[in-house]
């Protein structure tokens, strides 16, 4: 097409005239019309001589008023050329001597809300947009071409001002660079243009048609329903609704279709968060707009809540009476659809619960009231077992998790509501982040519910009333305890000095500490595969050399608490059924790995002494290391993508001890040792290959054991600090403890026992004998110790 705007076209001139007349001119014309007509009427009655002249004057003022109201102030599109299709909003902002180039065009239209819609949601300042646009008139036709294409794509004959903005942005290479700098994509502009187009289309088509003022005289009273239920239709009519794309969703249309095909009751099936309740609200919106099948015209939707009904009933008999009365009232009043949200609560089994199954069965059989039930597929399965007759009468409509594009549309609609209700601005990057992070961290709910819930939580973290990707990251960090935001300078320093921090509680094992620290740094900097755990390591070495201690040290330094260590003793998982325990779900499953990780997705998972586990568990570990997730018995995944996975093993401990004692370095025989593990059948090659690193731990020397004693002493001093007592060991005392506690087979493990016996017992005796007072410093030499 490649054309530019003709500022001398008839529409352009009409637009400028309309702007000049404006609302003020229109009001003046109407006033003159009314006043002149009044005078004329008075003249005609009283015989005033200029009555006809005033009538002429009245018509003279009426004509421009009508022209402005019906034509100039709306200026509908007509024809296919650019001049015929450009929105009035654009035309009134262009002067007759307007420079026709992208930057000047933007400057003219940037004050309009549609231009601000783009800059606000993209978080790009107006000046930044201006600076990124071309000043070459030759670039404008391409931008307008794109705007026309976007209008076509949105089935809009009018080229809206927002589409022109999108055209200007999408055809500017500098603007593309600007977007990339703020981690956005040119496709975001396109998404927003379509979002705007959808909003404009819906707002123009929106029309309430709820039966008129005589509706209540055609139908019956509903006092009980008003008391126990919520009239969704009335609520939407009063407060408005914006279910946007959901009103056209397959689920809503399927419900309508089912009722149109004479279904008595429909059951909406879907997981939590998939939008069952919102689909019913969207149906209510369609009913109000009169945009529905004839059999549902003018129907009102009442939602019944089992908890509300139960709380207001005095006993089981009373509950049944209330239910019967509610259903009877709906049947008599006509034109009412009953919606049972969380329907499983109406069919609960067991003492103290409420089963309305039999009452509802007779209603569904008689088709007296159209009803919609909402529940999860598993609850529906339970209903089938429990009340087969009722289940078979319900027409199931299964809601599927929508694809990403649809979820984003629902998020856009939800964002509009949030912006109105919470007076915040929801940036597009926040929506994208909410989609991505809710998918990663919330396995309990389905889309779009989980993304909406996260976006709502993010409002509390808005900065200057702007909900950005950072706000979403903060909400995730607070809810799940994971680190997803960008690295702050203090955290960067901590990451860079991770080895030093770990070495404050770990003696030697430099290679192991360095390998793990590097993995954590890579993960935090975002350069690792996000679909796998942060890092996975197999620690090999003799007992008591610091394998478990390193896992604890990582939990304490990087994950900020030792409680972030999920430790599984593999000697407890030697039977096939033990493996199932790991995958069990349910609040009472305390030994379930999946439950632990769902509660604490940012953790160190330690599989201690992995060689003792059942082979099935090793297969499970393969899946975990490969995909970064495990799936429970009900098919729900638990993510390990923010975990460090550590498996420890004493396999080949003897070999390590022998070769290190012969003076060989760990690095020299690490490969050989791995081969030996595979050849001896202790580990499958596919498992070893999946670990990021296999780290050998060497036995500690007596000097290193001495340092371990000092670290343990520091812990004892921390305990004694509350009594204001300090203990210090002389070098001879440390040597004596090492000599007593050193066992080459058990590493540093006996050292704690030796220290307890030697120091703690000695200090305890001193305290009890009154030989030590608060503020004292006890210096223990070798002869003082009880060894």
């Amino acid at each position: 097409m490649s054309q530019t705007v003709n500022l001398s076209s008839q529409r352009a001139k009409e637009a400028r005239l309309g702007k000049r007349i404006g609302k003020t001119g229109y009001t003046i014309c109407v006033s003159v019309t009314v006043a002149s007509a009044g005078v004329s009427l008075f003249g005609l009655i009283t015989g005033f001589p200029f009555a006809l002249t005033f009538l002429g004057l009245s018509l003279l003022a009426l004509v421009p008023a009508l022209w402005w109201k019906r034509r100039l102030s709306v200026l509908p599109p007509k024809g296919k050329t650019l001049d015929d299709r450009l929105s009035l909003d654009v035309l009134v902002r262009l002067h007759s001597n307007q420079q026709m180039q992208p930057q000047a065009m933007w400057s003219s239209i940037q004050g309009h809300w549609q231009a601000q819609f783009f800059s606000n949601h993209l978080l790009v300042g107006m000046d930044a947009v201006t600076g990124s646009l071309s000043t070459d008139p030759a670039d404008l036709p391409a931008a307008l071409d794109v705007a026309a294409q976007i209008a076509d794509q949105n089935q809009s004959q009018t080229i809206e001002l927002g589409f022109v903005v999108a055209g200007l942005m999408l055809t500017s290479p500098q603007f593309e660079q600007l977007l990339l700098k703020i981690k956005s994509q040119p496709s975001d502009v396109m998404v927003m243009a379509n979002w705007l187009g959808r909003n404009l289309r819906e707002s123009r088509q929106s029309k309430q048609s709820f039966g008129g003022i005589g509706r209540d005289w055609a139908f019956g009273f509903t006092p009980l329903l008003n008391k126990f239920g919520q009239n969704l239709s009335l609520s939407i009519a009063k407060h408005g609704a914006h279910f946007g794309s959901l009103t056209q969703s397959d689920g809503v249309l399927a419900v309508e279709g089912a009722f149109n095909n004479n279904a008595g009751a429909v059951v909406l099936l879907g997981e939590d968060g998939i939008g069952k309740t919102n689909s019913v609200y969207a149906l209510a919106q369609r009913l109000i707009e009169g945009n529905t099948v004839p059999s549902l015209a003018y129907h009102q939707l009442f939602s019944l809540n089992a908890t509300d009904i139960t709380s207001q009933a005095r006993g089981a008999g009373d509950l049944e009476n209330i239910m019967i009365s509610l259903v009877n009232e709906a049947a008599h009043a006509k034109h009412i659809i009953l919606f049972f949200d969380n329907s499983q609560l109406f069919f609960a089994e067991g003492p103290g619960t409420f089963d309305a199954g039999q009452i509802l069965l007779s209603v569904v059989q008689s088709r007296a009231v159209p009803m919609i039930f909402a529940m999860s597929p598993s609850d529906f399965q339970r209903l089938r077992t429990h009340n087969q007759s009722l289940a078979s009468l319900l027409t199931p409509v299964t809601l599927q998790e929508p694809p990403q594009a649809k979820v984003m549309e629902v998020l856009e609609d939800a964002a509009v509501l949030m912006e109105n209700n919470s007076k915040v601005l929801v940036a597009y990057e926040a929506m994208r982040e909410a989609y991505s992070l809710s998918g990663r961290y919330n396995q309990d709910q389905a889309y779009p519910g989980k993304a909406i819930a996260l976006l709502e939580q993010s409002i509390a973290h808005s900065d200057n009333s702007i909900v950005s990707a950072q706000s979403v990251q903060k909400a995730v960090e607070q809810t799940y305890g994971v680190k997803v935001g960008s690295v702050a300078p203090t955290e960067a320093d901590a990451l860079l000095s991770l080895e030093d921090d770990i070495h404050k509680r770990m003696i030697n094992q430099t290679y192991a500490v360095s390998a793990v620290s590097s993995a954590l740094r890579r993960a935090r900097a975002g350069v690792t595969n996000p679909k796998r755990p942060i890092g996975s390591f197999l620690f090999l070495g003799p007992t008591g050399v610091g394998k478990t201690e390193l896992a604890k040290a990582i939990a304490s330094t990087y994950f900020k608490s030792e409680s972030s260590l999920i430790r599984l003793d593999m000697s407890e998982y030697q039977q096939p059924e033990d493996v199932q325990r790991l995958l069990a779900t349910g609040q009472n499953e305390t030994s379930s790995l999946l439950m632990s990780v769902r509660q604490q997705p940012f953790a160190v998972v330690l599989f201690d002494e992995i060689e003792k586990a059942h082979p099935n568990l090793l297969n499970l570990l393969l899946q975990l290391l490969d995909e970064g997730q495990l799936t429970d018995n009900s098919g729900k995944a638990a993510s390990f993508k923010d975990c460090v996975i550590i498996a420890t093993s004493n396999a080949s401990a003897q070999t390590i001890r022998e070769r290190v004692s012969r003076g060989e370095s760990l690095e020299a025989f690490a490969g050989e040792l791995t081969d030996e593990l595979i050849n001896s059948g202790q580990f499958k090659p596919e498992l070893l290959n999946r670990f990021d690193d296999i780290i050998l731990f060497r036995p500690l020397t007596p000097e290193e054991l001495g340092k371990v004693v000092q670290l343990m002493m520091a812990e004892i001093n921390q305990t004694l600090a509350s009594q204001n007592i300090a203990v210090e060991l002389t070098a001879a005392a440390v040597g004596a403890i090492v000599a007593k506690g050193n066992d080459p087979r058990l590493g540093a493990r006996p050292m704690r026992r030796a220290l307890q016996k030697a120091v703690e017992d000695t200090v305890a005796q001193k305290i009890l004998r009154g030989e030590t007072n608060p503020g004292d410093k006890i210096i223990l030499d070798a002869p003082d110790l009880t060894l």
């Binding site: 001139k13 001589p49 003279l60 022209w67 034509r71 039966g211 005589g214 005289w217 009273f221």
Partner: protein, 122 residues
């Protein structure tokens, strides 16, 4: 200026006049919606706000319920028919007004100079 005058005349005798014709349907539809015409006609003989008596076992009770329901239906009929009559009167007014508007519309630009000058002469 000439272009704007042409634009005005072509709109007045083109889309402007057409919009008055199309306003017939729109205005009558809005009126029907406001007065709930379809629902009221469909439920013309239904009991008033669905207040229904349920017959008991005895013949007296059955007879009383039948009588009550007849009264309820009569009340419903009266209220609805009165409301429908209100709607009908409004519809007639709309039809007359719109018809007059259609007839006068093309004459208005011509009547302006006639009235302005004629009023001064007479």
């Amino acid at each position: 200026m000439f272009m704007l005058l042409t634009a005005f005349i072509s709109w007045w005798y083109g889309d402007g006049w057409k919009s008055v014709f199309s306003s017939y349907e729109r205005r009558l539809n809005d009126l029907s919606e406001t007065f709930s015409v379809r629902q009221l006609i469909r439920t013309l003989f239904d009991p008033w706000r669905r207040i229904i008596s349920y017959p008991g076992a005895s013949i007296t009770e059955k007879f009383r319920a039948w009588g009550d329901n007849i009264v309820s239906r009569a009340v419903g009929f009266c209220v609805r028919i009165l409301f429908l009559l209100g709607g009908l009167i409004s519809a007639i007014a709309i039809i007359i007004f719109t018809t007059v508007e259609i007839i006068i519309w093309p004459l208005i630009p011509i009547l302006i100079p006639i009235f302005l000058i004629g009023g001064l002469i007479i």
